[in-house]
Symmetry: C2
Subunit: 359 residues, 2 copies
């Protein structure tokens, strides 16, 4: 039985409290006890997202990517124009899925490792009357936080809806769906929210609900999913184990307090960044564009990417992530999210990095 | 913490052995240890399905319905003709999803509670040159086993591919993908296979692989999923907990032996049917059309459906399922699958039914 210190881009470590919930006896998907837990789960999710009143909030029975596809599948179809902000791999994925669902897609891009300049979005919108702007808040491939609040304001000024991918931010740093005017927010359970993967929260604000299309997918059809979560109309056999675990993780989040949790992630990030500097290592994004949850660490010249990751795993049972796409071999992706985000883990990780890089 | 005896249409009871696997420490989706387990899992799945050489076998990160959609999404598109055999709710669902993906759909139907007559399929095929015939092997809504082997032979004689939904049969009664000439077989983890829901196995035979379409879905794209399972190309963050549990369930299946497991399900079904007759209760399908896994029990006149199910749950913590669609209020759906399929459970269940119906 292998046990790892999970400091990659997700999954993060899961507390024993949440693992115990995962191991509760299985219940049927229509059991009144499970339905009660699901009701409470969606109420907690709405609070964690700060979803505006009248939003529909539930979890898709899949990973974060399933929620990404759900956001697109219910808002895009042939004839819809989508502007997708691409600052890394997950922006590319959003654009890919939007095209698959028939939308006319334009992208606005920047160098990987930088946040989008809202002026570039404004310029793109002036040339392309988008129905929807889709943007990744926390770009997991580059460690960058995009200015979704500013982009949402620009989009709304032109009547476009805003989809925000918050897979690597929700529960770890501020996401204010109502305050920032985000029309769809989705995430995954296994990063800052502290549960295993397999349930992916998504929230549709009333403005998005007013512009839903006929969904081509059955599994991702938000109307059917809402009927399932709210009216108990059979749609699929949700995994009670994942529901119990995710619910327990959300209870723990509210016990800690959302703002305290954001502060914990920020403090841990800063401690890690300081320690990295002491080791002569640096982060890819400029300081004010960095995530508090996922750190893109430049691999120093002369250091073997694979050898270091292998040594971390084999000697210390530590997982960190590799770079993706153009950043392959150039960065490590080091997540300190959920239960992984502690000062103690920062010490372990810095010590292990120091020893491993020196070898 | 609620514990139920799960005798509904799924989920079934999960052994403590499998629950222990579920509770193993979380691993990253690219961890070599997890990848090794996934390799072994797909090899075991191929054996359980009896998939022909050259098949692609993996699990979708979703419930059985996600595998149903995966089967359609990779084989149907506008211009494709699909004949869907509808003998209950899940046949209707298959037809719905086929239409969503743009196929021209015809259905061949019969009364709910009966198996399709292969002659009806032959007649439908002579009038409609289908590219694909889709059929539910084990119709969970009616307790009926459809003659997929005979239907597959008819379909192949006309050059059509065959998709077979084996959600409620695989692992509980014979499914012989290679021997019966099924081109796509899918299932769910939570019925006869003995794991929690959340991973859904699917197998594409070479003939299906030769006729795949450009999949519109990203999450269900079989080419991307194969790259993920075989070439480790990132697609989504699979839940290691579900992988461990499902793998352990498959190990247990092969330890028991597939044929012994089918025999266990058949014996338990017969014992239950005999006991039902002693109580004056009867099964909906004719004897030679019945599943060995899921029993559609007629609700006697004068017996209150909801009251009985509620009493079973509240007094005995037993779950059984309600009828669906036109069978709502007319049958109970009683599954004896996986770890739920034991003689001891039959005794418990018959005793509880007797006491509850008498009340």
């Amino acid at each position: 039985m292998t046990e790892r210190l999970l400091f990659g881009p997700g999954p993060s470590l899961v507390t024993s409290r949440v693992m115990s919930a995962l191991a509760r006896p299985v219940l049927g998907h229509l059991d009144p006890v499970l339905l009660g837990v699901m009701d409470d789960l969606r109420a907690r999710l709405a609070r964690v997202c700060h979803a505006p009143p009248g939003s529909r909030v539930f979890a898709v029975s899949g990973t974060g990517t399933s929620a990404m596809e759900t956001s697109v599948a219910n808002l895009m179809e042939p004839g819809k124009k989508a502007l997708v902000v691409v600052t890394g791999y997950f922006g590319l994925r959003l654009a890919d899925i939007a095209r698959r669902y028939g939308a006319e897609v334009r992208t606005v891009e920047c160098e990987w490792g930088r946040a989008i300049d809202p002026a570039a979005v404004e310029s793109a919108l002036s040339a392309f009357p988008a129905d929807i702007v889709a943007i990744v808040h926390a770009e997991t491939s580059t460690g960058v936080r995009n200015p979704v609040r500013e982009v949402a304001a620009l989009a709304h000024a032109r009547g476009a809806l805003v989809i925000a991918d918050c897979v690597t931010s929700l529960g770890g740093q501020e996401v204010d769906m109502a305050g920032w005017g985000l029309d769809v927010v989705y995430s995954g359970a296994q990063k800052c929210l502290g549960a295993p993967s397999g349930l992916a929260p998504i929230a549709f604000a009333p403005a998005a609900l007013a512009r839903m299309v006929a969904c081509r997918s059955f599994y991702f059809d938000a109307a059917l999913l809402e009927d399932y979560w709210a009216a108990r109309k059979y749609h699929h056999t949700i995994c009670s184990s994942l529901v119990f675990a995710f619910h327990e993780a959300l209870v723990a989040i509210e016990e800690e307090g959302l703002e305290a949790r954001w502060a914990r992630h920020a403090n841990v990030h800063r401690a890690f960044a300081t320690g990295l500097a002491d080791l002569g290592l640096s982060l890819l994004p400029p300081e004010d564009e960095r995530l508090m949850t996922l750190n893109a660490v430049r691999i120093p010249d002369g250091v073997n990417d694979v050898a270091v990751r292998t040594a971390l795993r084999e000697r210390f049972s530590i997982e960190i992530g590799a770079g993706m796409g153009p950043l392959g071999g150039k960065i490590w992706r080091i997540g300190l999210m959920g239960a992984s985000a502690t000062e103690a883990h920062v010490l372990t990780l810095l010590g292990a990095l120091k020893l491993t890089i020196a070898d």
